[in-house]
């Protein structure tokens, strides 16, 4: 009798439970929704913006700037040499001594407010150009880069005539001419981060945008010209490493502000040793994002996704090391993989694109190199299954599990959409692992327990620690690193200090 009832069903149901999977390849795909290119004007050629005018480069050289999403040429820009840098620094010095230093602070503020409003007015065009030149999705340049850049100008415009309240009972004086070198990951936003506080505090500027992404800085130059800023107060020079070196080494520059790689940061440090140039460096990072078992997991997963895949992972504060408590690791990894399936990689101009193009061929090669290193090191790689466009530089969102602290993918900055996942058991262990890095720019903590947040943030060696969120920026909040992530703060009241001499 007992033989008639076989436990067939049970076997079936366990077999089934192993194959439970959500299907994201759907019969209801999104039709293309590209933003129109015609709303933006890009000239065939750009000269150098020196002393309020467009000047031909003394180098007589121009180089191409391309769209990384299809490798097509967008324009060509001048390559500034030492003589060009010298012209720009001279213009900035003259503007500083004769106009800007003497101008009543509230008049300076008016100019900065004007720039801010014009950035807002031209927001759509700026977003399109940013996306075309840098490869970031239009959703991000439209909703993040451009509005945050405008906010930065607004914020520092407000400080210009209130410096005596920022540092009570201490007189303040500007430094002089600031040489500013910015990276390619947030071209317009970084220009705003650099220019706004420098102008508010009464300094003049020579700014060099990154070699691969000069166009929005040049658009900003057009805005500055239209805003009638006195000639020479802001000069924008395009070029590559040699142009940057000429700025750093120019004897008449009082301050260097650099955002970029730790490697170049070290070169700058060496170059200015022995001079009286002031310097702030905002360099690389390898942020730890920590998920405790009591965290709101779905929101944590979303935070991790934004932390590492925002701007293709080209973010110095990207949450590239995920520490997840072992008891929830399996679930978190499953949720991450599901979420990655719904990320759309493709045409950056499409409003539905989540992950755009990698900024350059060179950067794509670096990312690929690290992915193969990760595999060789024995970590387990997973990438989403989305199709990639045939042309241009693209990379699928990727994660590695079974990663050890000693793996290179866990130690070195990849600057791409690659996440390394490491498990932990106790609070002390994760603190030790999170701080076990030459970098210290940012970190994230995910827990439902308020007291744990404060305990963790206090012990974390990172300039910014986000709790139950990630990659949030506000002009009023200072940003900057510990250790090899650099020094000096940008944003907030702290962001005024690197451009001021405090007296008394």
């Amino acid at each position: 009798m007992a033989t008639t009832k076989k436990p067939v069903r049970k076997k079936n149901s366990t077999a089934k439970s192993n194959t439970i999977k959500l299907k994201f390849d759907t019969s209801w795909p999104y039709a293309p929704a590209p933003e129109s290119k015609s709303a933006a004007t890009i000239h065939k050629q750009y000269d150098l913006f020196i002393n309020g005018e467009w000047q031909k480069p003394l180098s007589k050289k121009y180089f191409d700037t391309i769209n990384p999403a299809n490798e097509e040429k967008l324009s060509e820009v001048a390559e500034a040499n030492e003589a060009d840098v010298n012209r720009a620094v001279t213009a900035a010095r003259t503007a500083y001594e004769q106009v800007w230093k003497k101008m009543p602070p509230k008049e300076r503020a008016k100019y900065i407010f004007r720039i801010a409003r014009m950035v807002q007015e031209k927001a759509r065009e700026l977003a399109i150009v940013e996306t075309l030149n840098g490869g970031k999705p239009i959703r991000e340049s439209r909703d993040f880069d451009v509005p945050t850049a405008a906010n930065h100008f607004f914020y520092y415009a407000g400080w210009a005539d209130k410096l005596e309240y920022a540092f009570p009972n201490r007189g303040t004086a500007p430094l002089g001419v600031a040489g500013q070198i910015i990276p390619w990951n947030f071209p317009l936003l970084m220009a705003a981060w650099k220019i706004a506080p420098a102008l508010a505090t009464g300094n003049t500027v020579v700014l060099k945008p990154a070699e691969t992404t000069p166009l929005t800085a040049l658009k900003l130059a057009e805005i500055i010209q239209e805003a009638d800023l006195p000639p020479g107060v802001v000069n924008i020079l395009t070029g590559a490493g040699a142009t940057g070196a000429a700025i750093v080494n120019h004897p008449d520059i009082n301050k260097i502000a650099f955002t970029g790689s730790t490697e170049v940061g070290k070169i700058i440090q060496r170059a200015i040793a022995g001079t009286n140039k002031r310097v702030t460096l905002e360099l690389g990072g390898k942020a730890a994002n920590i998920i405790f078992e009591d965290a709101p997991l779905d929101q944590a997963v979303e935070g991790v996704i934004n932390g590492i895949f925002f701007n293709q992972g080209h973010v110095c504060c990207a949450g590239s090391r995920l520490y997840v408590q072992e008891s929830v690791a399996k679930e978190v990894i499953r949720k991450l993989k599901d979420r990655m399936e719904s990320l759309i990689v493709g045409d950056p101009l499409d409003k539905n694109t989540d992950i755009g193009a990698i900024n350059s061929k060179q950067q794509l090669a670096t990312i690929r190199k690290y992915i193969s290193i990760g595999k060789k090191e024995g970590a387990e790689m997973y990438e989403s299954s989305c199709p990639l466009p045939g042309k241009g530089f693209f990379c699928r969102p990727t994660l590695f599990t079974n990663v050890a602290q000693s793996n290179r993918i866990a130690k070195e900055e990849i600057f791409g959409p690659v996440l390394a996942i490491i498990t932990f058991r106790t609070d002390d262990e994760v603190i030790e692992k999170a701080n076990n890095s030459p970098y210290g720019l940012s970190a994230g903590v995910w827990t439902d327990k308020g007291s744990k947040i404060f305990n963790m943030t206090k012990r974390m060696r990172a300039g910014v620690v986000w709790a139950n969120t990630f990659n949030k920026f506000d002009p009023a909040s200072p940003f900057g690193g510990y250790k090899e992530s650099g020094f000096g703060r940008e944003g907030g009241l702290h962001g005024l200090l690197p451009y001021l001499e405090l007296k008394g």
Binding site: L22, S27, W28, P29, A31, A33, P296, E302, N352
Partner: protein, 306 residues
Amino acid sequence: MPVSKERIIRPDFSLSPRIDQVGVEERASRFTKRSIKKETKLNGLKLVLNMIDLTTLEGKDTDGKVKQLCYKAMHPHDDLPGLPTVAAVCVYPTMVKVAKKALEGSGIKVASVTTAFPSGQAPRDVKIRDTKYAVANGADEVDMVISRGKFHAGEYNFVFDEIAMIKEACGEARLKVILETGELGTYDKVRRASDIAMQAGADFIKTSTGKIQPAATMPVTLVMLEAIRDFYYKTGKMIGMKPAGGISKSKLALHYLVMVKEVLGEDWLSNEWFRFGASSLANDVLMQLVKEETGLYQAANYFSVD
């Protein structure tokens, strides 16, 4: 010997996953950034229409009103051929018979609210009888309300048992469990109530009665979809989702579809697993569909109001 109730060990629902309010609202708003154009819009609108539970739940409902609604359900807009019908007509138990007859042969389901809808403030035996009455009259689907008072008092087992008993009373009819999220207060509690309902045997979980504000919102629906996903991974069992109340525009309905697609995927994109509880949504969808077909918006007067 009867097993005493105390011996039954149920999950501790107070341990349901926590939800971060800021995070879930931010995620929900991200779905609204998807741009839905051309054939995606057209197909999406048709899908929305096909997912609607056309609803009339009023004290003044009559046989005539219900019949008219049923006709609308079968013929949303005959000027535009090839349209799908709605998914179901949702009425009070006393109207089930009328609706069933009117919809005969159409394939459209009859859903009935029961358990002393909308407050649920009635003794359990009344709720069971209410349900059995609806099913006996031909209801294909039962929309019950949970006892929110007991839920707030922490009597999760009471809520659980009640759902399980109504499920038993449903027989073959599919059970939708209304959490009335507008009365629950926090996302944590929405998640907890979702877990209780699914464990107790719900086939669908539903946000609202439509009688309380706020009714369905995107973040609340997201919390419930995530609960459904976690339950699916644990058990292999699919649970349906029905946001109800407050969704009256096509654009918003398409945002909900985007959310379902990106959270649960392809399998849930049909009226077997996703519904909209709405009445005025249908005409807005029709208006958009006509616009997609002809390129012109027609005045509201061209769309029947039933």
